[in-house]
């Protein structure tokens, strides 16, 4: 696995030392809050509703057992014994005290982690396919490129004061699991006619107030040209991006206002210049990084234990059917561990659970873990023979929920239970939907379905690309929930369509239930998914279920 080099280590340590001094100066009164705020944000420290919140980057979602164990230690020692995994492949601590934060950062630095560039108008934590390096459908592991981008963008002098924050996502597989079309830049690995790997470059995607599906600015970019090309995009944006209006400052608006063709022309021109300046050092570096990301030594041993467990243990089989994904090595599996126990907070893991995850990675998983943007934890490399033992351990730790990709595998942002920007709660809505459908015992019958919930228009919960999206708003001083339908976060990304008027807090779960019953009645056969049925029939029958006629006439 990739480990930080000496430069990174020194840089992170220096930042911790600087921040410790800044905290002291804030406490002794030599810094005002106005002066301190940008400094704490640069180090991932927010002030939320009830407390400070520390956001820690998990670059491209990858970490090892030692790092996970340190996250557990930090949760226990300086927080309330848990952490929250987010849709940006970060972990957030919801209850740190100001004086403790430098120590937390120092403990992170001990395992090569940090909270740098998790905030501010910079290039943020580069996110990636959580199955990277393991997926059967992958062309190449995208993480070396993600790491190259991280090194290039960290503290890049030209890009510390962009018009707005800038998010890059990358996938090495044609099946997009990293929502690349909803990022400022999305990179999707494809092959050209000669069979060489390169990237489809997507620009100007984003959710939030003005959701937009990214547009392809370059259909095929050779891998070697990646850094100069990305730099060209960011520098064109840095010049053209609007700084007069926060709501029009993201690159999606720049692309929208200037037109893709003009942006492409400018980018290509800048790229031609920049490419000359890149002497090839970046490719040497990439070579070194790639070596560090080499696949583990896969073992070969009999896998009968797996077949036996499948045959004899229905609980194991149900879990295997939902939580396993094909690995590029046929003897192996990718295990998705659901952090979505019915009724629990999506994405929250206790310190004890984190230690179980660390142990499993070390014992059975070549010491690798991933965090998905869907707020689950992945063991990317598991030999099938070890699956029954892993399942037994997960069961004992309350981590064996068999619901990945199903209705209770909900993305929910922190919403108004924590987030200072929220207009409504999202966590309890997720908890209630999961609990309700568990009671109804319909989850497996319903099949693949993505519900995504955001607590405000910023859309951290990706509601626009949920098959069913839920957006919490404040309507005249009460919580109100708007439903969008038909969204899709894959390579065929679609922004969901608003279904109609919103629902009150106590009406939203019944509304979702009506929607699901309508789907079950409408589908042609059990294998037709919610999204397929929606695409076949359009929104009308679903709207009819959401807004029954008698209620409409009552309201009139």
């Amino acid at each position: 696995m990739y480990t930080y080099n000496d430069f990174d280590e020194a840089f992170v340590r220096e930042r911790v030392a600087q921040f410790s001094a800044q905290v002291e100066r804030r406490i002794d009164g030599s810094l005002t809050e106005d002066e301190f705020k940008p400094l704490r944000l640069m180090n991932g420290l927010y002030l939320q509703l009830h407390a400070y919140m520390l956001r820690v980057a998990i670059p491209y979602g990858t970490l090892n057992g030692r790092q996970m164990r340190q996250l557990a230690m930090i949760a226990e020692r300086w927080d309330k014994g848990y952490g929250h995994f987010t849709t940006r492949q970060n972990i957030q601590y919801n209850w740190p005290k100001l004086r403790d934060v430098p120590q937390m950062l120092s403990a992170l630095a001990d395992v090569g982690m940090h909270a740098i560039q998790t905030s501010g108008n910079t290039i943020r934590n580069v996110t990636s396919d959580h199955f990277a390096g393991a997926a059967a459908d992958e062309i190449e592991d995208p993480r070396p490129v993600a790491e190259l981008l991280r090194q290039w963008s960290t503290d890049h002098p030209e890009f510390q004061f962009l018009p707005r924050k800038f998010k890059i996502a990358i996938t090495g597989s044609p099946n997009d699991r990293a929502v690349t079309k909803a990022h400022d830049i999305g990179l999707r690995m494809v092959r050209n006619d000669a069979g060489e790997p390169g990237f489809e470059v997507i620009v100007g995607g984003g959710l939030g107030r003005t959701p937009m599906v990214g547009k392809v600015i370059r259909e095929f970019l050779p891998k070697a040209d990646l850094l100069p090309y990305v730099e060209a995009i960011v520098s064109v944006y840095n010049l053209l991006g609007r700084r007069d209006n926060k709501y029009k400052a993201r690159i999606k608006i720049t692309v929208h206002e200037n037109g893709l063709d003009k942006i492409r022309e400018l980018v290509e021109a800048r790229f031609t210049d920049l490419r000359r300046e890149f002497s090839g050092a970046d490719q040497e570096l990439l070579g070194e990084i790639e070596a560090a990301f080499a696949a583990p030594d896969f073992v070969s041993k009999p896998a009968e234990a797996y077949d036996t467990a499948r045959e004899t243990d229905p609980v194991f089989r149900a879990w295997a059917d939902t939580n396993l994904t094909a690995h590029r090595n046929a003897d192996y599996s990718i295990v998705t561990i659901s952090i979505k126990t019915h009724g629990q907070t999506p994405g929250d893991a206790t310190a004890d659970q984190m230690r179980v995850l660390a142990d499993l990675a070390e014992t059975y998983g070549h010491d690798e873990l991933r965090i998905s943007h869907e707020q689950n934890v992945i063991l990317p490399h598991v030999h099938k023979a070890d699956l029954p033992a892993i399942h037994a351990t997960l069961k004992a730790a309350g981590l064996a929920t068999a619901n990945v990709g199903l209705i209770s595998d909900i993305i929910a942002c922190p919403g108004m239970d924590y987030c200072a920007l929220a207009t409504a709660r999202s966590i309890p809505v997720a908890q209630q939907i999961a609990t309700r459908f568990d009671e109804l015992k319909l989850e497996h019958d319903i099949g693949p379905l993505k519900i995504k919930i955001s607590g405000c228009i910023n859309a951290c919960g990706h509601h626009h690309v949920g098959h069913i999206g839920i957006l919490g708003l404040d309507r005249a001083g009460v919580e109100n929930y708007q439903i969008t339908l038909g969204g899709d976060g894959t390579e065929d990304a679609v922004i969901g369509e608003r279904a109609g008027p919103g629902f009150a807090y106590d009406e939203i779960v019944p509304a979702i239930e009506r929607l699901i019953h309508a789907y079950l009645d409408l589908r042609e056969e059990a294998s037709e998914t919610f999204l397929q049925t929606y695409r076949r029939l359009g929104a009308e029958p679903f709207k009819a279920a959401l807004y029954p006629a008698e209620e409409r006439s009552n309201a009139a």
Binding site: I27, L47, Q48, H50, N94, W95, K97, R99, R425, I427
Partner: protein, 101 residues
């Protein structure tokens, strides 16, 4: 012209702990909303906010929030303030834990 003034409280977060705090009549910062000073007119509200903004060594981000008079002190007018005064709904953390008993 004279629209009725909605009563206000001054609230902020504690600098060191991050906790939600409320400005009291006697210039303290209390963890309890019930101890907040309920402000009944605009000039006084501005004066109290100004005072709070001078308390940078104790609190962060003071602002005026709508409130109304309840049987045992001010009560929040908006659900956001109700959540701030109670804590998150998914765990018994925050004030509902700290102020127990």
């Amino acid at each position: 012209m004279s629209r009725r003034f909605t009563p206000k409280i001054v609230t902020a977060n504690d600098l060191l702990e991050g906790d939600v705090v409320y400005l009291t009549r006697d210039d303290r910062w209390s963890l309890r909303l019930s101890e907040a000073e309920l402000i009944e007119d605009e000039p006084h509200a501005q004066k109290r906010l100004h005072f709070a903004e001078g308390q940078q060594d104790l609190v962060v981000g003071p602002y005026l929030a709508d409130a109304h008079r309840g049987p045992s002190g001010p009560e929040p007018a908006h659900f956001r303030e109700a959540f701030r005064a109670r804590g998150p709904s998914n765990y018994r953390h925050g004030k509902q834990e700290d102020l127990r008993g």
